[in-house]
């Protein structure tokens, strides 16, 4: 009995210490800055606008059809839905009362002025590396140029006790330590600029780096194990491996990559799913120099051992299909439903219909994106320079068996080689698409 009481007391005091530590941690790690920022400096504002594009703030902080930056977009997490907040300069419902110190602590450290912790759905762990100058520019732009909108923030649907925010301080201590940007070795300023954007504002890792058990990105910058940007599944899309290796980007040239980032299309592939939105809202606005820097940095990411090259097998598919030999499982379905655009040689057409041959999304380790785009369809973004939002219709009306065979065929034809896709994979995706949060659901075009 006594032991039990001691244990309870010990537990309670540990919890109290933990709680105390957690709620006060911000004061140890995050002293509030007192820098004065001139939010009327036009140069600073202009740079801030550019950086806000690079950070794609608008994508999460704007509800579909809602006022820009007024929040409301729901982000699905395993625990419940988190709604992005109002970051317009409205003094009561937005960030209008924030001074620069408040703004900096929220963006780089994930802490609100009232001391509450933000959910790491906000990629502050990535924004840690954003420079002071860039933070000040962002602040100047948000304060001076974003239209203030009075709109209350929507509470999350995460149930108690998971809804308690203070344990997030521990999460931060483990996964979001203060750090400064460290340029990659080699001293190339272009690569350094690319790394700064990729690791920081562009927060590419939020989708493209695999996450651990605590929802943390396994690496926030290039790591020895090569998990940074090595591909991850999110809302049923496989955000592809961006490392310079076999199923990553080794077959892409720097120019192809930069073109893709700018226009969402190049001679081998096209953006779909969330990446289409990223190009539409963010990347199309970046300068060619910055896009080249991003591309060059990604191409500098070292391949993991044994994955240095992509070695295609011999293409026997084209000749077979041209000869009318549809005996391979899935071949007939391919010819019936896919050939119209992707063609018998699997090459599609430059900038219009993505190639399937040699397309690393097709033979990615995880086939989720291939399955989902086939079933639900995909739409390229429409941008001022490329208003044509080429759209692939969905083929969910095909049976699971047909789709599984088709996916396996595409992943293993024209020299491609990858694991096969099972009917269960299709069934799982069918369920995922049916239960998809509407804000990210691609237009299925049925």
């Amino acid at each position: 009995m006594r032991i039990a009481i001691y244990a309870l007391l010990a537990g309670a005091s540990a919890l109290a210490v933990g709680w105390g530590t957690a709620i006060s941690s911000q004061w140890w790690f995050a002293p509030k800055l007192t820098t004065e920022v001139d939010a009327s400096d036009p140069d600073l504002i202009a740079r801030g606008e550019y950086l806000a594009r690079a950070g794609d703030c608008v994508a999460c902080h704007t509800a579909p059809g809602g006022a820009p930056f007024a929040g409301g977009l729901g982000l699905q997490t395993p625990m419940g839905t988190i709604y992005a907040t109002n970051i317009t300069p409205d003094p009561e419902t937005g960030i209008g009362s924030y001074d620069y110190g408040d703004f900096e602590r929220a963006v780089r450290q994930g802490v609100r002025p009232d001391g509450a912790h933000l959910y790491p759905a906000m990629p502050y762990a990535s924004y840690r590396v954003v420079s002071d100058e860039d933070m000040q520019a962002l602040y100047a732009w948000f304060r001076s140029s974003v239209e203030p909108v009075r709109k209350e923030n929507q509470p999350t649907t995460i149930p108690w006790p998971a809804s308690l925010r203070w344990p997030l301080a521990w999460w931060n201590m483990l996964f979001s330590q203060p750090r400064d940007f460290t340029p990659p070795e080699g001293g190339d300023p272009v690569i350094a600029r690319g790394a700064y954007l990729v690791e920081g504002l562009a927060h590419c890792g939020a989708c493209h780096t695999p996450r651990g058990l605590a929802y943390e990105e396994k690496a926030l910058s290039e790591d020895a194990g090569g998990s940074f940007l090595s591909g991850s599944v999110l809302e049923g899309w496989y955000a592809k491996n961006l490392r310079n290796e076999d199923t990553g980007l080794v077959t892409w040239s720097e120019e192809e990559l930069a073109t893709f980032l700018k226009t969402a299309r190049n001679d081998r592939t096209a953006a779909f799913g969330s990446m289409s939105d990223v190009v539409e809202h963010s990347l199309q606005y970046l300068t060619d120099d910055d896009l080249t820097a991003i591309a060059r940095y990604l191409k500098s990411l070292k391949p993991r051992a044994g994955r240095e090259q992509w070695v295609p097998q011999e293409d026997v598919t084209t000749a077979a299909l041209r000869a009318g030999d549809f005996s391979a499982p899935g071949a007939l379905t391919y010819v019936e439903h896919c050939t119209a655009c992707h063609r018998l040689d699997g090459m599609g057409a430059p900038e219009v219909y993505p190639a399937l041959k040699g397309n690393s999304m097709v033979f990615a380790d995880d086939p989720s994106s291939l399955i989902q785009v086939t079933m639900a369809g995909g739409r390229m973004p429409d941008t001022p320079a490329h208003p044509m939002a080429f759209t692939m219709p969905g083929f969910a009306h095909l049976t699971n068996a047909d789709l599984a065979e088709l996916m396996t065929f595409i992943r293993n034809s024209w020299g491609n080689h990858a694991s096969s896709v099972a009917e269960a994979d299709i069934a799982r995706m069918r369920h995922e698409i049916a239960n998809k949060p509407t804000h990210y659901a691609p237009e299925a075009g049925q």
């Binding site: 050939t339 119209a340 655009c341 430059p350 739409r379 320079a385 490329h386 044509m388 219709p393 075009g445």
Partner: protein, 589 residues
Amino acid sequence: MARTDAKKDVVIVGLGWTGAIMGMELAQEGLEILALERGPNRETVPEMRYPNMIDELSQGERHNMMLRPAQSTVTIRRNLNETALPMRKWGSFLLGNGVGGSGVHWNGQNWRPQPIEMQLRSHIRDTWGEEIIPEDMTIGDYPVTYDELEPYFDRFERVAGITGAAGNINGEVQEGGNPFEGWRSGDYPMPPLPVTYNGIKFAEAARAMGYHPFLRPGGNASTSYVNEYGMQMGACNFCGFCERYGCYQYSKSSPQTTILAALFRKPNFSYRTGAEVLRVEMAADGQTATGVTYFDEEAGEEVFQPADIVILAAYQIENVRLMLLSGIGTPYDPVSGQGVTGKNYGYQITGSTSMFFRDEHFNPFIGSGINGVCIDDFGMSANDFGALGFIGGAYISSAQTNGQPIRSMPLPQDTPAWGAEWKSGIAEWYGHQMSIGHHGSVMSYRGHYCDLDPTYRDRHGRPLMRITFDWHPNELRMNAYLKEKIEEIARSMQPDVMQSSYKDYNSRYDVRPYQTTHNTGGTIMGATPETGAVNRYLQAWDKHNVFVTGAGAFVQNTQYNPTGLVGGLAYWAVDAIRRQYLRNPGPLA
């Protein structure tokens, strides 16, 4: 009952090819523009998506892409003494409907007129004397020349992404192109597509007879293409579903693939579907239009849309009707020959010879809307009207646009049309047939015109358009001449079976079988208000803020498919609006 909406700078009636061109070019001026489209919205995905679109029963037979006759139709008669009756199922021609208009369901065949076709009356007068022109033939000169329009033909071809091989660049005849075409300032924006076997076989035969075969130009992309608006197309795959269908894969030139997505980005442009324009409203003094009244399908009410400029960009038939319903121009009277609105309705004459080769395979399921080889050796500029006894011309071609099962099962004519023998006929002959046809000019005549039907009305109580048209001996003589020339080529190819389908001298216009949707005239251009409903800039003579685009402007039909001239005239007219009219609104001629 009627609602009035906020005023716009420009209201455009119809969002097909010319509505899209006008919208885009005027949106670049920063004007507030509203386009009103009678039919539904149409995008490549979902409305034309694969595989749903390529359903011959729905689209080819039941005309799902077309105007529903229950919504609006036309009445037809062949002469002034007949009583016109309404068409209840489309036949001879197919009227488009919805965003993209007929630019969605066309084959894509795109030609420029020959220079002499633009000044036809003067050409005949100078060459043979006006006395060879039949008394009732009301042909004239367009009040604009080929040379003036050349930059605008070029512009349209570059926007629309036309494939082809030039035959005449700045007067230099080019190997492989049409040596009879008017001069062009540059080559086509895309090279020609490859051609199917029938075309190769026809080209060999034609060349052996001293003719000049060339690949048909048109709007089926041969490569990935980007136009001046940033719009993109990808190469055609010869699926054989062009005419009557929307292209599911962004390969056929259409407003959707070449203009609309870029136009829809413009904040000063908007459009409404389900908005059927009932009439153009006039200012009290009758000198200008004040806007249009349309029926809002969704709200179920009439809406007055005020605007400074009204552009009638509907199909030829509806444009003529709106002019007559709104009192724009003097209605044409075929008895006195006075008046202009509705005058010079024109059409196209066609005929073909079918050849069956037991041992040859043509794979008719491989096709595209423009696929084919043509010769222009019997075109307008090649024909000696004085010696031949007719005025006109035609290009001859061997096309292979589709092998669709319901409507493209040609059989020797002694084969039964149903039953076991029909089946064995199909088994024996499917894929063994090719044809050679002609596509010929139709002149304008005093008795061929459009007016408001005295009896039949649409659901809004407005009179239907009445078309009075029949074949004239002039065209039937030309048709007989072309039959002789085509059969000569066909015989040289030594088919196992050969059969011809041409009108004879007793033929009357039959509205049932499909012939062509090349209806022209009725809102004709003229150098004076007495000779045209619109001036050389497609501006209504009597209402300077009303412009009327489309093939209605054709003084007489040309020997070619009309879209190239329609597109060229639209760019020509909108250029005049941009350069002159906006600065100084008033009559441009």
